[in-house]
């Protein structure tokens, strides 16, 4: 009877479209024994930078396509491929007295959520030794190895199209959405630390306000099992103090709900991200969020970090509230409605929803007034390619690796 009842409950729960109940969350695979990097000296960032660019692929085209984009982000190296929006996150190290340059990590197919292990070696050996010494590689860069059991060889064809970083790939929800299951919950400190490895130059985060006025990162205005866990973590965000949020709620992956202050600190101190788009959810949030944005913009500048912070204004109420306040020093605003809103409010960015089309005439007007243009939210390759044809300054996406690959293939530097 108990098993029958459980089967019935499971069937009904399945049909209920709740989805995320007891599903196991993705944990990035790792080599069981720590892999070859266990005994390796971590590679320098200069060495990783030499590997960055567009690589031709020899091997299973169904796995990685004809070419991949390799990008260094901090002490990690990422590979972005077109089929199934596949990406790999690797770390590098030197072994055998500096004769072997090895990269190990995991790959994940974003559209099918399959994953596996990656191990690559820099070839030829002269390149490996040079990379380990931090010197320029003498021969054309090649990386050879395996994605699970499939052999691949990557040959560097050219450097990145946009070395100065004028085009921004903006990752949605801090890096990836909870339902995308990339290894961290959306709007968490953990996903912010992962975002640049996922292909992002910047992140968009959602900001709500607790009842005691603390800005936190959370998308919905209600806590529920879709994004948060906790038996009593239910109800409106604005009904709970920060102490209640810390006591009752964790994000779906078990992470703490972060404050906006901690999020800024993480972006500036622990990542290579160059931008933050604050999706301000209500007028009450605008003041505290803007003050934090100004403070951390100044802190980043003092630390030599160029971090663009844009305060999103998705409604006319927020646009009016922004214009009624003295503009914070440093951060700019990002208007999501009409181009005239961006121009009249002096916003640095105009970001219309993609369903409104390319709006090229409006985009031209915004640029004539010194602003930049972004579109949101684009995940499908067909739509990404269409909008890259409008030469945007940024695209907001749930698939930053795919956008990066498409930009390298067909994009034009703004």
């Amino acid at each position: 009877m108990a098993s029958d009842l459980r089967a019935l409950l499971a069937l009904v729960a399945l049909a209920s479209a709740c989805g995320s109940g007891a599903r196991e969350r993705f944990t990035p695979p790792a080599f069981a024994d720590g892999g070859l990097l266990r005994d390796a000296v971590p590679a320098s960032r200069a060495a990783l930078a030499q590997l960055s660019g567009v690589h031709g692929v020899e091997g299973d085209a169904a796995l990685l396509g004809d070419d991949v984009v390799v990008r260094a982000a901090g002490d990690r190296l990422s590979i972005f491929a077109r089929p199934d929006a596949t990406y790999a996150v690797l770390r590098a190290g030197c072994r055998d007295g500096g004769d072997t340059f090895v990269l190990e990590g995991y790959y994940r197919r974003a559209t099918t959520v399959a994953s596996g292990l990656v191990r690559l070696f820099a070839e030829p050996e002269t390149n490996a030794r040079a990379l380990c010494r931090g010197e320029p590689a003498p021969a054309p860069i090649e990386l050879a190895g395996t994605f699970d059991d499939s052999s691949v060889r990557l040959r560097l064809q050219r450097g990145a199209r946009d070395p100065s970083g004028r085009f921004f790939v903006v990752a949605h929800r801090g890096g990836c959405r909870t339902i995308d299951d990339c290894g961290a919950s959306e709007n968490s400190l953990e996903v912010l630390r992962l975002a640049d490895a996922l292909g992002a130059d910047a992140v968009e985060v959602d900001v709500q306000l607790t009842s005691d006025g603390v800005p936190i990162l959370y998308h919905d205005d209600q806590f529920d099992p879709r994004l948060a866990s906790g038996a009593y973590c239910r109800g409106r965000v604005a009904d709970f103090t920060m102490a209640h949020v810390q006591a009752l709620c964790r994000l779906a992956g078990g992470e703490r709900v972060p404050t906006l202050d901690d999020a800024f600190r993480t972006v500036v101190d622990e990542t290579t991200l160059r931008g933050v788009w604050l999706d301000v959810k209500s007028v009450d949030v605008l003041g505290p969020a803007s003050e934090l944005a100004a403070r951390h913009w100044a802190r980043a500048k003092a630390a030599g970090r160029d971090v663009t912070i844009a305060v999103g204004l998705p409604t006319t109420e927020l646009i009016d509230a922004w214009r009624a306040r003295p503009a914070p020093s440093g951060p700019t605003c990002l208007a999501e409605l009409e181009a005239s809103d961006a121009i009249d409010a002096g916003c640095g960015v105009w970001a219309p929803r993609w369903t409104r089309g390319l709006l090229e005439d409006d985009a031209r007007r915004v640029r004539e007034h010194g602003g930049r243009v972004a579109y949101w939210t684009l995940d499908e390759e067909d739509f990404i390619d269409t909008f890259l044809g409008a030469h945007p300054d940024a695209l907001l996406t749930n698939r930053p690796g795919l956008v990066r690959h498409r930009f390298e293939s067909i994009g034009v530097v703004p």
Partner: protein, 210 residues
């Protein structure tokens, strides 16, 4: 008179019309657009063609999300059980996002399926229907750009349980539930922005046949 859904063979020219309402139950707040929470009006008809063949036409829409389909099928009685095979061709049209209804999408699908039914001709009749969704083309028209996909895609399927009950001399009421397993590309507004790789969701419906 034939039933509306029950897959019994019907004499040529005999027709039944039905009017009802259906609503999808998608996870709340998972989708950005509220259009998915608006019930759809459903109008349908089933006509006997002769020699145990039948044809149906169906429209389900709420202005924002609309589907028009026609199907042909063959039904046969096996003692107390009736069974049918059918193929439905569907055209759907809808709006993506609701700010100004700027962007429309349409798609072409075929849905081969089978039904099995049992019941009392003068009382309750139960029908189970299984359909597979095959998407053949999708088209999104932005105000100033067009994105087309002409690729074949198995986009999921649906299992429907329908109850029809005779009311009065010749009318009937029907109600039931559909469990749909849909890939994100089944309909573009399901794929829009916040969809998961694959989703199972129920649809509840009820209506009147005359």
């Amino acid at each position: 008179m034939p039933s509306l859904v029950f897959p019994e063979p019907a004499p040529a020219g005999h027709a039944r019309f039905g009017l009802g309402v259906s609503v999808d139950v998608l996870p709340r707040r998972l989708v950005e657009s509220e259009i998915r929470e608006v019930p759809r009006m459903v109008g349908q008809t089933r006509v006997g063609v002769g020699a145990d063949f039948f044809a149906t036409a169906r429209f389900a829409g709420n202005v924002l999300s609309n589907e028009l389909s026609v199907s042909a099928g063959y039904a046969h009685r096996f003692g107390p059980i009736v069974a049918a095979l059918h193929e439905r061709v569907a055209f759907w049209l809808g709006y993506l996002g609701v700010e100004g209804f700027d962007t429309t999408a349409w798609g072409l699908m075929t849905m081969p399926g089978a039904s099995i039914g049992a019941g009392d001709p003068n009382g309750f009749r139960f029908t189970a229907t299984l359909e597979v969704f095959l998407v053949h083309a999708q088209h999104v028209r932005l105000p100033d750009a067009t994105v087309e996909r002409r690729r074949f895609l198995v986009a999921g399927g649906a299992l429907t349980l329908t109850v029809e009950d005779r009311v009065g001399k010749s009318s009937l009421v029907y109600y039931g539930v559909t469990a749909t397993l849909a890939q994100p590309d089944y309909q573009l507004w399901l794929a829009f922005s916040d969809s998961e790789q694959r989703r199972v969701y129920p649809t509840f419906f009820a209506g009147y046949g005359f």
